[in-house]
Amino acid sequence: MADTPIAPAGHVRLGSNSGQSMTRREGVAKVTGKANYAADNKPEGLLHAVYLESGIARGKVISLNTEAALAHPGVVHVMTPENAPSLAVSPDEKPVPFSARMEVLQDNRVRYAGQPIALVLAETLEAATEGARLLAPEYEAEPARIGFENGEAYDPEFVTTGTPPARQVGDIDAERKKAAHTVEVTVDTPLQYHNAMEPHVIIAQWDGDKLTIDMPNQAIGLARAGIATYLGIDPENVTLRSPYLGGGFGSKAVVFGPQYLAMLAAREVGRPVKLVLRRDQMFGPVQHRSATRQTVRIDLDKDGRILALDHHSLSTTSSFDDWLESAANASLSIYASPAIKVSHTGLRVDTGTPGAVRAPGLASGTAALEVAVDAAAYRMKQDPLDFRLLNYAETDPGTGKPFSAKALRECYAEGAARFGWKGRPLEPGQMRDADGYLTGWGVGTALFHAPFFPAKASAVIRSDGSVGAQTSGADMGQGAWTALAQMAADGLGMPADEIEFEIGHSGLPDGSVAGGSAHTASAGSALFAAGSDAVRQVAEIAMNDPESPLYGAGNEGVRASGGRLHRVDDPARGETYAEILTRAGIAEVEGQGRGRREKSAAEQYAMYSHGAVFAEVKIDPDLYQVRVSRLVGAFAAGRIINPRLAKSQLNGGMIWGLSFALHEEGIHDLRSGRPINNDLAGYHVPVLADVPSVESILVEEHDPHANALGIKGVGEIGITGTVGAIANAVWHATGVRPQRYPIHIKDLLEGELARQRG
C-alpha cells in the first residue's frame, strides 16, 4: 500500500473543511430518533436475556432455583455454571489489549457484588427479568472487603496497563533539607462509575460459525480480535456494528462478561439474543474509576519555588485483576521541581475491576495535586495563579524532555482575562455577592496526554465523481462522524458534505481505539492520508495523460479542490476527478492511509494538551449548599478540526470535573459490599440546573511534532484541573480545604464548626 509521504511535520495544510465549526453530520439522525443504537435492532426470532447478579461480594453461590425461573411463562433457557458453555480461552486470560478478567459462569465463585451468576433467556424482556429474580440464589458468603480500611494493600508491579508504579527525579531528601516551607494534603476520591446514558448492550446472532454483533464499542478492531479468540472462531467471522455509541467514557473499550454470556447463549439456543444491562447492573462488571487516597507533599524554598514534590496514591482494584489508577503520576508533568517522587500502593477490595474512566490517572491525580498546590500558594501568601506561573515547567519535569508544544502560559492569561481573575482577594471568606452568598474563585491546571495510535483508513474516488472514505473508528459523542469526515474530505479535496463517509463497522479498515483523546489525531490522520493517496493516484493518471490539461504539470504543480485537479500556475486549467477517470477508463481508485507519529518525535518530545480552568462557586453561608456559578477553561491542544465540537468536548469535560468535585460517589455498604446507591437517583451526576455557565476558550497552539497535522486531543483534558479549581474555589469561599471528593455539605458545615471550636 502506498502511504502518503509524511510531509514536514506540522506543515501539512488542511483544506477548507478542517477548522470549520460544522454541525454534526449525524445531527438529523440524532434529533429525529433515527440514529441506530445497538439496542434499537430487532432481528427475527430475538430472545431477551437478563442476567442475575450476585447479592454478596465474596463467596459461593450454592443454589439457584432454575425450576422456578423455567416455569415462568416465556422463559426459554437458564444458563448457570452447571450448564454454561465454556469459552475457548479462560476468561481469566487476557489475550488481547483492552481485555480484563471476567466472569462468564465458569464456576460458582463470587468475587464482587453485582457479578453475573446466571443468565435467563425469554421471549419477552418482562419474562426474562422476572425469571432472573425467581432464581432466588442462596450463598455461602465470606466477609466483604470494601473501603480503605478493609482492603488488602500490596505493592503493585505496574499501574494502569504496564506503567511503572513509582518514579523518582532528582534527590528528594537533599532538596527537602533546603526547604523553607512544607505543605502536605491528603485527599480521598471515591469509586466512580462511567454511567453512559446508554447502558452496555449487545445483540448477538449466529449463522453457523459466523457471528454478527450489534454492540456499542470504542475499539472495534481489538474487540473483534478478542471476541474471536475467546469464542474460538476466525476474526473474519466476527461482524461488529457500532455506528452510534450512547456514550462510552472508557467503559465501552472493553468487552465484558455479560456480553460474552449473550454471545454464548445465542450460540447455545440458536436464536439471536439481546442483553441490555439495567442501570443498577452498570455498578458491577463494567468497570469504574478506582477509589484513591492520595497524599501530596510540597517542599518550597523561601520564595515559593517548589523544591520537592512527593505524590503517593493508594488506589483500589479488585481481588482478581490489576488495573490501578495512576493518580500520582499527575505530578510528573505539570509543575517544575528539582525533585519529584511519585508512588502507588494497590488495595484489593471486593468490587469489579476498575478501568479507564474519562481522563484516567490525571482526573484523580490533579484533583489532589491542585489542592496541594493551592495550599502551597496560600502558605506563601501568593496568588494561586502567580504561584503556578512561578513554578511553570519549561520542560517536562518527569523526563526532562522538551514539550512538543506548550501554550499553557497563554491558557492562564486568556482564561484569567475572560474570567476576571484580577483582584481576587488572597484570603478566604472575603467575597460575598449581592444576595449574600459566599463566593470563591479557584484555578486549576489541566493536562492530558497526547498519544497517537496506529490507525488505518481507505478512500475511494469513482469515475462518476462520487467519493468516499472509511475507517472502523467510533463516535461515542465526541464528534468523530463529523471531525473525521472533515479531515477525510480535505484529503480528498472535496467539501465534507459531498463525501460518503462510514465508520463504526468491523468490516472497515481498523481506525483503532476511540480513547486516550487520540482518535481525531490517529484516525483523522489516516483518513486524510487515504484521501490524499486517492487524489495522488488520480493526479498521476492525469499528469501522464497527454489529453489532460494537467499533463506534465508535475507533482508540485497540481492542486485539488472541489473534486477537481487544477494547475497551480493557472487554476483555470484543470479537470474533474470524474473526467480524468472516465477518460482513462478506470472505474475507481482506492487510496489507503495510515496515521502515524514520527518515531524520533515521540522519543524526543513530551506531548500533552494543556489548559487552565477557573471556577467560581456560590455557597450558602449557613447551609453550605454549593453551586458552581461559572467555569471558564482555556485549552491549547494543537490544531482544532472543529471548534464547535471541540468546545462541546471541553465543556462536557469541565462538567465532568464539576461532577467529580461535587456529586459522583459510588457507595458500597461496608458490611455487605453491595453498591447501594446504584441508580441515577442515588449516584448523582449534574443536571442542567447545576450548570449555569460554562465556557471554553480554544487557545491557538502550533504543535509541529505531535503528528503531521499537529492535532492533539480535547476529549478528556476538561476534567483535569477543573476538580481542583472547584475545590480551591470552595476553600476560597469558606476557608475549608476539602479532604475528600465529592465535597459534601456536611464537610463544609463541620469545617465551620471545627473552626469555631478553634
Binding site: 444576595d435 449548599q625 461535587l662 457507595i667 447501594i676 446507591n677 449534574p686 440546573a689 455539605i745
Partner: protein, 349 residues
C-alpha cells in the same frame, strides 16, 4: 416484575371492592409503585387502576372555606393552578421543588402521600428491612446513614419520608380522606404516618382496601398566603431529594405573629411539625433571638440515628432561614429554582 392481574374499575365502590382483595394495590400515576415493583419491593397480585375514576380530579373550595383536592389531581396541575398557588404558595413551591417536571406531570397528589421511603436499604432487596418485612431487622442501622432520620426513629426503622409536598401540607393541618370497605374516614395528614415504635416500623396508616380519595386544607390554611416559604437543602441544584427541608408560614398583623406553622422534611418518618418552635413565636413580635430560639426548639428532641448528627445542625439553620424568609413575605412569583437555597440568586438574574 411479577405477573399480576390488571383491573380498571369504573367507580370508587368497585375500586375499593377490588382493592380489598388480598395482594391488591392501587395504581394511579405509577411513578412510585412501578419503580418499587421493578426493584421487587412491591409484588402485588392485582393492580387496581384508579387513574380514571370519576370525581377524584377536582380542586374545590368548599362552603366553609376549606379546600378539597381530589387524589387524582396531578402534582403539576395543582402547583400550576393559579388560585391554589396564590392561596397556598408554599405548597405550590414544595410541589415544584420535588422530582422532575415529567414525574410531577404523572404523579398524583394521592400517590405523593402514599410514596415509600427512599431509604437505600428499603430499596436494596438483599438488605433486611422491617418496613418490607416486619420483624426482619434493619440493615440501615450501622450502614450508610447520612440521610436518615434524626427525629422519631427507633431501632425498628430510621427511614425518612421523602415528600416535599407533605411537609407544606402538614404545616397547614391538612387531612387525608380515605374510602375503604367499611366506609369513609378522615385523618390528619401528620397522623396518617405512624412513627416507628419499639416493635413496629411505622408507615402510612392505610387499612386493607382503603383508597386515598382527597386531601383537605382547612379554611384557616389560607391565612398564611402572605408569609409562606418552603426551602429544601439538597446536594444537587434540582432533581434530588431533600437532605433536610423546612416549611414556614406565618399570619402576621400589627407586627405580631398571630399564628405560625413550621414543619420539617427529611428528618423523620413523617413530615415533622415543630410545634415547640411555633409556640416560641406565636403571639410575639419576632426578633432574631426568638427565631433562633424557635429553631433550637424545633430540634430539641433530635438525636442522630447514625452518621447524621450534622443534619440536626443543618435542620436548625434551615428552620431559622425558612422562618426569616416567611416573615419577609411570600415572593411575588414562585422562584425559578423552587425551594432552592439559590432561589434568591436565581431571582436576581
Amino acid at each position: 416484575m411479577n405477573l399480576f392481574d390488571y383491573k380498571r374499575p369504573s367507580s370508587i365502590a368497585d375500586a375499593v371492592a377490588a382493592g380489598a382483595e388480598p395482594g391488591a394495590a392501587y395504581l394511579a400515576g405509577g411513578t412510585n409503585l412501578l419503580d418499587l415493583m421493578k426493584v421487587g419491593a412491591r409484588k402485588p397480585d392485582v393492580l387496581v387502576d384508579i387513574s380514571r375514576l370519576p370525581g377524584l380530579g377536582e380542586i374545590e373550595t368548599l362552603q366553609d372555606g376549606s379546600v378539597r383536592i381530589g387524589a387524582l389531581v396531578r402534582n403539576s396541575d395543582l402547583a400550576r393552578d393559579a388560585g391554589f398557588a396564590k392561596a397556598y404558595p408554599a405548597v405550590a413551591e414544595a410541589l415544584l421543588s420535588g422530582a422532575s417536571a415529567q414525574l410531577r406531570n404523572a404523579a398524583t397528589v394521592g400517590g405523593n402521600l402514599m410514596q415509600q421511603t427512599r431509604c437505600l436499604y428499603f430499596y436494596d432487596q438483599q438488605s433486611r428491612c422491617n418496613r418490607r418485612q416486619p420483624g426482619a431487622g434493619c440493615d440501615a442501622i450501622g450502614g450508610e446513614t447520612g440521610k436518615h432520620a434524626v427525629l422519631g426513629w427507633t431501632k425498628q426503622c430510621i427511614a425518612t419520608h421523602p415528600s416535599d409536598f407533605c411537609v407544606a401540607l402538614a404545616a397547614l393541618d391538612a387531612s387525608v380522606e380515605l374510602q375503604g370497605p367499611d366506609g369513609a374516614r378522615s385523618v390528619s395528614l401528620e397522623e396518617f404516618y405512624t412513627l416507628p415504635t419499639e416493635d413496629t416500623p411505622g408507615g402510612a396508616d392505610v387499612r386493607p382496601g382503603e383508597l386515598v380519595t382527597a386531601l383537605t386544607l382547612p379554611a384557616d390554611a389560607a391565612h398564611f398566603a402572605g408569609h409562606a416559604r418552603y426551602i429544601k437543602l439538597r446536594d444537587r441544584t434540582s432533581y434530588a431529594f431533600a437532605i433536610v427541608s423546612a416549611a414556614a408560614m406565618a399570619d402576621i398583623s400589627d407586627g405580631v405573629v398571630q399564628d405560625i406553622r413550621i414543619a420539617m422534611g427529611g428528618v423523620a418518618a413523617r413530615p415533622w411539625r415543630a410545634r415547640a418552635a411555633e409556640a416560641a413565636l406565636k403571639s410575639k413580635a419576632p426578633t432574631p433571638e426568638l427565631i433562633s430560639a424557635a429553631a433550637e426548639a424545633a430540634l430539641a428532641d433530635a438525636s442522630p440515628s447514625g452518621d447524621n448528627a450534622y443534619k440536626i445542625e443543618l435542620a436548625k439553620r434551615l428552620v431559622h432561614r425558612a422562618i426569616e424568609q416567611a416573615l419577609a413575605g411570600t415572593p411575588q412569583t414562585i422562584p425559578a429554582l423552587p425551594g432552592s437555597v439559590f432561589a434568591a440568586q436565581a431571582a436576581g438574574r
